[in-house]
């Protein structure tokens, strides 16, 4: 594979300092501060309306920053229009110019910069090879599939060797299988060229698959920033816990606490959990545990390092690689358990079962 397209230089560090965007009285982006490192694959993840695209548009220069500042490599870019910022950009609908063929689409940023013709030819061909579209140079957008159009958009965004590439839900319009392949491909290109990528998505699997770090946004604010495993395993609040996959959240009150551990009273049950943040005894809180961390057994256990509770299987859904159970453990308390589809035969609906999960896997969250 060709190594010809390289980032212009190290660089591409972005600092968002208290960035705020107002639409009418509404703060669609509310005081966001983030530091994105050079060469990092950084995702902005959130539901629709969380302000992730608006944040990206402010970095790109298509939306004004109402308060705060965006620094790129230490320089405030507020006064630079989008065309002067020199970032690569990939749009959700690809925005492949319909009147230009693939070659001319990819050549566009170079022609706009008045590069000499031989250089254009060389760089465009390299970029097209990189996205495996070398033989499609003379086609038009309408003759390409969605995945191919997206490859053209990516080639166009990297052909001029930007230090920073912005991607706004680039895979949103593709079907699920193709999406995974493209994730791998984008990540591979980024790794090879070493540029910074800021990636907007609402798909948590996509963000976790590709990112070095993820910022989870909700209602214009950053809920948590961290590496994929960190935000998944150690969410800082219930929103993050729920947004990044299935989660059991058992609401109760803190009845006792030790150094890094607390006891939560949930109905007639008491569970132990680690503390995500300091909390006072008597406060309401939720116990968080991922469904795949809960084990289902036929007999009651007693191990001190685990939480234990008995219950009755209400529902068992066969999902292929896993079996998802819903177990009633109290009058108004049910838990979700994902069991690997391996080992012994699954439990039937109505069966009496015993649940256990490690205290180390339990986290106490404040709503």
């Amino acid at each position: 594979m060709n190594q010809g397209v390289r980032p212009s230089s190290a660089g591409g560090a972005i600092d968002l300092r208290g960035v705020t965007k107002l639409y009418g009285g509404l703060r669609v982006v509310d005081d966001i501060s983030l530091s994105i490192r050079p060469g990092e694959f950084f995702s902005l993840l959130g539901p629709s309306g969380s302000g992730k695209t608006t944040t990206l548009m402010m970095v790109a220069g298509f939306a004004d920053v109402d308060r705060g500042a965006v620094d790129v490599d230490g320089v405030d870019v507020a006064d630079l229009p989008p065309q002067k910022r020199g970032f690569g950009m990939v749009f959700q609908n690809y925005a492949i110019f319909p009147h230009l063929n693939v070659f001319e689409n990819v050549a566009f940023p170079l022609r706009a910069r008045h590069r000499p013709e031989p250089e254009i030819r060389e760089k465009v061909n390299r970029a097209l090879d990189l996205v495996q579209l070398g033989s499609f140079a003379s086609r038009f957008a309408r003759q390409l599939s969605g995945g191919q159009q997206q490859r053209v958009a990516i080639a166009r965004a990297i052909v001029f060797e930007p230090r920073l590439v912005l991607m706004d839900e680039p895979l949103g319009a593709l079907d699920k299988n193709l999406r995974y392949d493209m994730q791998v491909e984008i990540k591979e290109i980024q790794r090879r060229l070493g540029m910074t990528v800021v990636y907007v998505t609402h798909d948590q699997e996509e963000a976790m698959n590709m990112s070095d770090r993820i910022a989870i946004l909700n209602r214009g604010r950053v809920e948590q920033v961290g590496a994929p495993a960190e935000v998944y395993e150690r969410p800082q609040n219930a929103f993050v816990a729920r947004f990044l996959g299935e989660a059991n959240l058992l609401a109760g009150t803190v009845s006792a606490q030790a150094a890094d551990c607390a006891v939560l009273r949930v109905g007639e049950h008491s569970f132990r959990a680690r503390l995500a943040a300091p909390i006072e005894t008597g406060q309401p809180a939720s116990l968080f545990v991922r469904p795949e961390r809960v084990l289902l057994e036929a007999e009651a256990g007693t191990d001190e390092a685990w939480n234990h509770v008995g219950g009755e299987v209400r529902r068992a859904s066969f999902l292929g690689n896993i079996v998802r159970y819903l177990v009633q453990v109290g009058p108004s308390l049910a838990m979700r358990i994902d069991a690997q589809n391996a080992g012994p035969a699954p439990f039937a609906v109505g069966a009496r079962v015993f649940l256990k999960w490690a205290v180390a896997d339990s986290l106490l969250l404040v709503e």
């Binding site: 220069g61 298509f62 939306a63 229009p81």
Partner: protein, 267 residues
């Protein structure tokens, strides 16, 4: 996008809007003038040209002729146009684009040619001055307008609503009256309004077919402009402008009502 473009474009557009509206506004203003001749700006204001306009039996007669002829044209073109638009939107038809182009011909073929051809026939059958016949001929000119408005209105009606109604056991006829018309009515009203306006404003066909008996308002204005440019024309023109304004307002109101009552299926 931040507004970084130059100020030239907004200034140009503002100037262009001024030029587009100014002639119409000026005619309205001078029609309220109180001087002995047309003058802008008028030294004094009065309603005397309107008094002359409504007081003159020939002007009044032309107004009545126009109103009647437009009513006939509006009814014929709206009914026929609605059926055709529905067929063009819903039916599986070969040569749909061709049929539509054929139906748009009356606004493509120069009206002078259409008018002379109609006159040629009209004179043979002694129908010159027959309001019903003039209304029929105006409906030909109004049909393309009705069709264009209703095509875009009916494209906003989800065909699944009709399929659902048919699936629930309603007959085609019932679906037509209970589903299609209630959903499309704002489009129908707006088509009818503009058909009325098109006929009311039509000059060339009327010029040939009206004779002395059924002179319409535009024909009367035309004759005045050719013979003696009496200031009453300004009042007549203002009346036509007011009619246009009223129809635009009515159309806006219908669209607004529709936007409120039905969840809009159309931008």
């Amino acid at each position: 996008m931040p507004e970084r473009s130059s100020r030239v474009l907004p200034i140009y557009v503002a100037a262009a809007c001024f030029v587009l509206l100014a002639p119409i506004v000026i005619v309205c203003v001078i029609s309220f003038g109180g001087d002995g001749y047309l003058k802008f700006p008028p030294d004094s204001f009065s309603l005397k040209w309107f008094a002359a306009f409504f007081g003159d039996s020939r002007w009044r007669q032309s107004l009545i002729s126009s109103a009647l002829i437009a009513l006939i044209a509006c009814v014929i073109s709206t009914v026929i146009g609605f059926l055709a638009a529905y067929a063009l939107v819903r039916a599986e038809m070969r040569a749909k684009k061709f049929i539509l182009s054929l139906m748009l011909m009356p606004i493509i073929v120069p009206t002078v040619i259409t008018a002379i051809a109609m006159y040629f026939l009209t004179a043979k059958f002694g129908l010159v001055g027959n309001m019903l016949w003039i209304g029929f001929c105006h409906a030909i000119i109004a049909l393309p307008i009705v069709l264009l408005i209703l095509l875009s209105a009916l494209q906003g009606v989800d065909p699944n609503l009709e399929r659902a109604a048919l699936g629930l056991g309603a007959s085609r006829l019932r679906v037509f009256f209970k589903v299609v018309i209630p959903i499309a009515w704002p489009g129908v009203v707006s088509a009818a309004l503009f058909a009325y306006l098109a006929s009311f404003d039509e000059l060339i066909i009327s010029l040939f077919l009206a004779g002395a008996r059924a002179q319409t308002l535009p024909v009367r204005i035309w004759n005045s402009l050719h013979l003696d440019i009496e200031p009453t024309i300004a009042a007549a023109a203002t009346f036509l402008i007011a009619l246009t304004g009223a129809i635009l307002i009515a159309d806006g109101a219908v669209r607004w009502l529709r936007g409120r009552s039905v969840g809009s299926t159309q931008p």
